[in-house]
Amino acid sequence: MVQFILRRIAIAIPTLLIISFLIFLLQVMLPGDPALALAGEDPSPQAIAAIREKFQLDQPIPMRYLTWVANVLQGDFGMSIRTGLPVRDMLIQRLPVTFQLALMAMILAVLIAIPGGIIAALRPNSPLDYTVSSFTLAGVSVPNFFLGIMLILLFSVTLGWLPSGGYVPFASDPLGSIRSLIMPSIVLAFATSAVLMSHTRSAMLGTLNQDYIRTARAKGVSEPLIVIKHALRNALIPIITLGTIQFGELLGGAVLTEQVFGIPGFGKMLVDGVFSRDYSIVQAVVLVQAIIFLIVTVTADILYAVANPKLRHQ
């Protein structure tokens, strides 16, 4: 098992190098000259040159890549071209916000999806099953921003129960912080749970028809134990993988949802970075997203092996 984990991590390292190089290249290939953008109106050639030198835009590309990687490894993501502040500080500020949002959305999604999927699978083609299917369809088709706006209209504008946007840091006011993220987590959980639920349903339908379920019934095992211990335990093996990857996607930042609710998270940082052509920010955000996703994928593989005895013993 330890060997499996180590091997899985070792495979991730070259992937990470390739990704980092691509992110860097993409950046170089973007149209527009950041030095020109920074220099303001009617710049003198000297001013442009100075800016180029300051941000090392005058160096050859491989050199710039190596410098960048070396800096990143030391936790230095460079300075924001716009604000002149260290990108690292922005990351440290934004990541916990997105992490909290992703966690809340994921918990909510699992709480809806797993029981919903089980119930649908226990009574296939019943009204309950159709309700679950409709929910799934709605979940994957209703756009996030639309649902977000509707929620704001209902809970903030009409009822006045929840703040319409913004974020209260968890450390200063935990309850207020959770309150501030309730609506965005519902929005994110809606789509996430829809996918998770339909997979839970089909995985449960699959395991409930297995021979070992019949064996358990023949032993006299009670129905709840058969569903939870025998069927769900096996259905969870693919579900764990899916859920982990979904969590990774949520951690990558919800661009639209954060925008709608004005949450200073990771997704909003990316959007702002792109709009202001702030290369170091975009680079840093995309790189961190890639790293998060790699970690999540490796975790998913490891969890899959932990949940599946057949893999554990290989």
Partner: protein
């Protein structure tokens, strides 16, 4: 162990209420049956009324005896077994009949009461050892579950009991095997584990649905041998479903020949082998390879008819070489032709002896 039953009239084993004999169910011999099935009818509801997959099935088994149910695929053997356990698929219903296990009428039990019977009073071994164990749990976990579902034992005592059961079914190094997952065991080993599961609570009836079909020949012989030993040690009655007449000859006390959901012939094993009466039974024997000649195997032409396409008369009439207009139009009743040898055929009794 077998000596316990010496002196019991063999007819007791076969004491059944059949439509033909109209024998009353108050026969004193009935009480000795571990399991008595009467008029069991299994149906699938359709828009045009229920279709009967198994119809008016009667049989009983004395304690410690083995009944073999034989017949081709599609004759209703497996659904009969599942019906006895009340584990039929939702789409199928038991529309008539009684299943009496040691004096308890199973079909009238609540689901909760029936759960107490499954795995304790009556247990079952399946055809597919490769998929019948839960891949997510160790063998020990699954045996312990079978034990503690019906008995309150401490975890430690249940584990000791599980080791004993694995030893009973001749699994080497049982203590280590407890922590093995099913995928680490061979098909034969898994079927041994299934047998251990089935024996966990010393059931009075053990249903084995083609337990050796999926195994290779040497393992088949071992499993059969094991089942024979355990039957005499545990004294359980066994319903053994098979289409392998070689297996029947080795283990059966009684034989029930099922065709398209109807009993064709029902008798002591010896009578079936020495004096088969039904053309279908004769056909099954004729289809046995004799191991000497190089001639092609004899087959019964055609296939078991589909449910809903059963002939009006004898179910076998579409494939029977002897069938007449009467066979096609009128269903023969299961009649006793002496010593409890029951046959459903207009031709019975025919001149005896094997072809």
């Amino acid at each position: 162990m077998a000596g316990t039953f010496v002196g019991r009239p063999q007819e007791g084993v076969l004491m059944v209420e059949t439509q033909a004999s109209g024998a009353s169910s108050s026969s004193p011999l009935n009480e000795k049956a571990a399991l008595a099935v009467r008029g069991l009818t299994i149906s699938i509801p359709t828009a045009r009324g229920p279709l009967h997959l198994v119809e008016k099935l009667d049989f009983s088994i004395a304690p410690g005896k083995t009944l073999c149910i034989v017949g081709e695929s599609g004759s209703g053997k497996s659904i009969t077994a599942l019906a006895l356990m009340r584990l039929l698929h939702n789409a199928l219903d038991i529309t008539a009949g009684t299943v009496d296990l040691n004096g308890t009428e199973l079909l009238g039990l609540s689901n909760k009461e029936m759960r107490k019977v499954r795995g304790a009073g009556m247990s079952m071994i399946f055809q597919e050892p490769m998929t019948s164990l839960n891949p997510a749990y160790t063998v020990g976990n699954q045996i312990v579950e079978a034990i503690t579902t019906h008995r309150s034992l401490s975890a430690e005592a249940a584990r000791t009991e599980a080791v004993r059961l694995l030893r009973e079914v001749n699994i080497p190094a049982p203590e280590q095997r407890l922590d093995a997952y099913p995928h680490q065991l061979s098909g034969g080993m898994r079927q041994r584990v299934m047998i251990a599961l089935a024996l966990a609570n010393n059931p009075s009836v053990l249903i084995a649905d083609e337990p050796t079909t999926a195994l290779d020949v040497t393992v088949q012989a071992q499993i059969l041998e094991l089942m024979r030993n355990l039957r005499s040690r545990y004294g359980a009655s066994v319903i053994f479903i098979t289409h392998d007449l070689g297996v029947v000859r080795e283990i059966a006390d009684d034989v029930l020949v099922l065709y398209a959901g109807r009993v064709m012939e029902y008798a002591r094993a010896q009578d079936i082998f020495e004096n088969p009466q039904h053309p279908y039974t004769l056909g099954l024997f004729a289809a046995l390879p004799n191991g000497r000649s190089r001639e092609p195997l004899t087959v019964i032409p055609g296939l078991v008819p589909m449910v809903g396409q059963f002939p009006k008369g004898c179910r076998f009439s579409t494939r029977c070489a002897l069938a007449t207009e009467k066979c096609r139009m009128e269903q023969p009743l299961l009649e006793d032709f002496g010593k409890g040898h029951r046959v459903a055929c207009w031709y019975a009794p025919i001149e005896s002896t094997r072809p």
